[in-house]
């Protein structure tokens, strides 16, 4: 019975609507029996689903909005106000229908994400036969076959075959990645070409993709303090209205007034106003690569005035490379010797030099190497291919009596001013080369920081374990206000706490495990999506592709969402005030009251829907949207 009615509630609404039209026509042509019959029948038909819902909730000791409406309608019917009862029930049903339709739209951004999740898998059994199974029934250690164009259904390792994968759904990078045996693949990514067999290590909701969906779904229902308050309020408000109506009825002895209070008291726009803004805002952010973990996060983030940045991996990419060189000797002469020595080292500078040599197609692997000696804090001495080599700082060379010319010294200090680390090399007692090694700064940092300031950020600070000079050089390049260098992870936490004590609302942006304490301590922790899992788990916001556009979008959309929520609360409270005044002044009755209620609910939903389309960079957002579309196509 209940199911039948739920399924056909649209038809019921339609029939009621038609009957009401018939009723008004009856009045127009002054055929009273038609008028009364039509309104009465409409009331009964439309009241049935409402009363049933009210009853089922009451069985579980919950006083629902439906109960208020039911009592009012039965009351109106009892005193012969068939027109009122018919219109109220119809508006209530029709309103829920429209709410449903429009709410669906606000949830669409999440839907498009969940629809990207794989649904079936080709499981290879031990005898080699392949069977298609629902992805829920795939177990860890099962081997699945992935064909060209198909989606990887699990997280796992490739056991045979190789191919190019599009990992945009996980990393946001649409560049194809080539993978072979023993490489890790992720659920939700797409095999662009080739054919692979994958042994599952994680399935279903434990996969990285499953976690992302879970995170966003949870986020949309993680309530802000305002919402929690409204929820709590609604819990007592609905029964409260029932009591007030009873009191009004007893005092005034006006039955009609009492049931009108029931209808007007329905908590409509107030309950739905705040959540609907958050859903739309979080959905918008997720679509633009920003995972925001809940309404309260948006609320606090919108108030942030101080941004703290980690340097390596956050402002910079954390990938060092040789950015400049002064070749005293020809490159072909010194680079093989240099690379041969550095290939023995795992120092970041050394690795940058080795990859520089590899990129330059220099052959150094077979050069004979003897007498390696590390000079602490200064560099390395060695004999390579029969020549005496010094690699390291200026003072290492000075100790050996090698002085720089004025030009060379100027070059060296210009490297440092640009934030490079330097490596000097001498062969047989003469300077051969000066190399500048730099960490690559992420694109758009400078522009984004400028735009964030326009949105209300007052102070930007860089916190780093690196030395002061390099840190300052990087900060100057991207336009950060303040630098605190040579900090340990616990020092960073202290800085966060100090700023908070000064009354600032602080967001910390970082990527590594060492940043986790600061991410948790700060009012808002923002993790780079390409960073470590720990950082992502402990943060409040994740920037999926670690881009600064996302940081800006996240901040802008949070501000917009909070504003939108406030607008909705004002609309909702305004509606209640208007209805009350209308009731006292005597121009609002049951049916018109219900109409204003339903209209206000639609207004707050439509207001929230403006957030779905909000964007900060029209062009780029469009590209991302088409990306998502092209991914979801093969699955449908």
């Amino acid at each position: 019975m209940m199911k039948f009615i739920t399924k056909h509630s649209n038809q019921i609404t339609g029939v009621t609507g038609a009957l009401i039209v018939l009723g008004f026509m009856g009045r127009l042509i002054k055929v009273e029996p038609v008028e009364i019959a039509a309104f009465a029948v409409a009331s009964v038909i439309a009241a049935v689903p409402i009363i049933l819902r009210a009853w089922s909730a009451l069985k579980y000791k919950t006083i629902s909005i439906e109960l208020l409406v039911s009592i009012a309608v039965i009351g109106a019917f009892a005193i012969g106000e068939f027109e009122e009862s018919a219109v109220v029930t119809f508006l209530f049903l029709f309103g829920s229908y429209l709410e449903n339709k429009t709410l669906k739209k606000t949830r669409n951004s999440i839907k498009s994400l969940t629809e990207m999740a794989p649904t079936t898998a080709l499981v290879v059994s031990e005898d080699g036969s392949v069977e298609e199974e629902d992805v829920d029934f795939v177990d860890v250690d099962d081997v699945v076959l992935v064909k060209t164009g198909a989606q990887v259904p699990v997280d796992g390792e490739i056991v045979s075959g190789h191919g190019n994968l599009n990992e945009a759904s996980i990393t946001g990078e649409s560049k194809l990645v080539s993978k072979g045996i023993d490489d890790e693949v992720f659920s939700g990514t797409i095999l662009d070409n080739g054919s692979i067999k994958v042994r599952a290590t994680k399935v279903g909701e434990d996969t990285t993709f499953g976690k992302i969906i879970d995170l966003v779904e949870e986020a949309q229902d993680t309530k802000s303090t305002a919402e929690k308050f409204i929820d709590q309020f609604a819990k007592y408000y609905t029964p409260g209205v029932l009591v007030i109506a009873l009191i009004v009825g007893l005092i005034t002895r006006d039955f009609r007034l009492a049931i009108t209070v029931l209808v007007l008291g329905c908590p409509g726009a107030l309950v739905i106003g705040a959540p609907v803004s958050n859903v739309a805002g979080i959905g918008n952010a997720a679509k633009n690569g920003v995972l925001i973990k809940g309404g309260e996060v948006m609320n606090v983030f919108s108030k942030v005035d101080t941004l703290l940045f980690d340097k390596t991996g956050t402002i910079t990419k954390g990938e060092t490379r040789v950015a400049a060189s002064l070749d005293v000797e020809p490159k072909s002469e010194y680079l093989p010797l240099l690379a041969r020595v550095e290939s023995e080292s795992d120092h970041p500078l050394g690795m940058a030099i080795v990859s520089y040599a590899d990129d330059s197609d220099v052959n150094y692997h077979d050069l004979p190497l003897h007498d390696i000696d590390t000079v602490k804090g200064k560099g390395i001495k060695a004999e390579v291919d029969g020549r005496q080599v010094l690699i390291g700082s200026r003072s290492l060379l000075a100790d050996a009596g090698i002085e720089l010319t004025t030009d060379q010294a100027d070059y060296l200090s210009s490297l440092h001013e640009k934030g490079n680390s330097s490596v000097l090399m001498a062969i047989n007692g003469r300077l051969a080369a000066i190399l500048g090694v730099a960490d690559i700064i992420r694109p758009d940092v400078k522009e984004t920081l400028k735009k964030l300031k326009q949105l209300g950020i007052k102070q930007t600070v860089m916190l780093t374990g690196d030395n002061e000079k390099t840190a300052r050089a990087v900060a100057n390049q991207v336009g950060i206000d303040e630098v605190q260098a040579q900090l340990l992870p616990e020092d960073k936490v202290e800085v966060v706490k100090k700023l908070q004590a000064e009354g600032k609302t602080v967001a910390f942006i970082g990527d590594g495990i060492n940043d986790s304490p600061s991410l948790t301590t700060a009012d808002i922790g923002i993790a780079m999506g390409t960073g470590t899992d720990v950082a992502i788990d402990t943060s409040d916001i994740v920037l999926m592709t670690s881009s600064y556009d996302e940081l800006y979008h996240g901040f802008a959309v949070s501000k917009k969402t909070v504003l939108n929520t406030k607008e909705n609360i004002v609309i909702a409270i305004g509606t209640v005030a208007f209805l009350l005044m209308g009731l006292i002044a005597g121009f609002i009755y049951m049916a018109s009251g219900m109409f204003v209620h339903e209209a206000s609910i639609l207004v707050v939903i439509f207001n929230a829907m403006r957030l779905i389309k909000f964007n900060t960079k029209p062009k780029q957002v469009d590209e991302k949207l088409t990306d998502i579309n092209s991914i979801s196509e093969p699955i449908k």
Binding site: M2, T62, I110, D221, T238, V271
Partner: protein, 74 residues
């Protein structure tokens, strides 16, 4: 303690959420009910000895909400 995740048809009113939450919490052996309004999902932990997952799904169906699928983790 088992964990069940139910996927429902779209939820349209926040009061449905309260109804489902309240109804499930009153079932014996049920702890920790979480109704996710926007995802239309119900996550709940329950004691297998006292109540079965299909009973829980019936409670939700009786309230008038279709349960599309239910996943149970022991």
């Amino acid at each position: 303690m088992s964990k069940a995740i139910m996927q429902l048809d779209e939820l349209s009113c926040p009061s449905c959420l309260q109804k489902i939450q309240g109804a499930l919490e009153q079932q014996p052996g049920v702890e920790n009910v979480k109704v996710m309004f926007n995802a239309a999902k119900v996550k709940t932990e329950f004691n297998n000895d006292q109540v079965q997952s299909d009973q829980l799904s019936k409670v939700v169906t009786d309230l008038g909400y279709e349960v599309q699928s239910i996943k149970v983790k022991e």
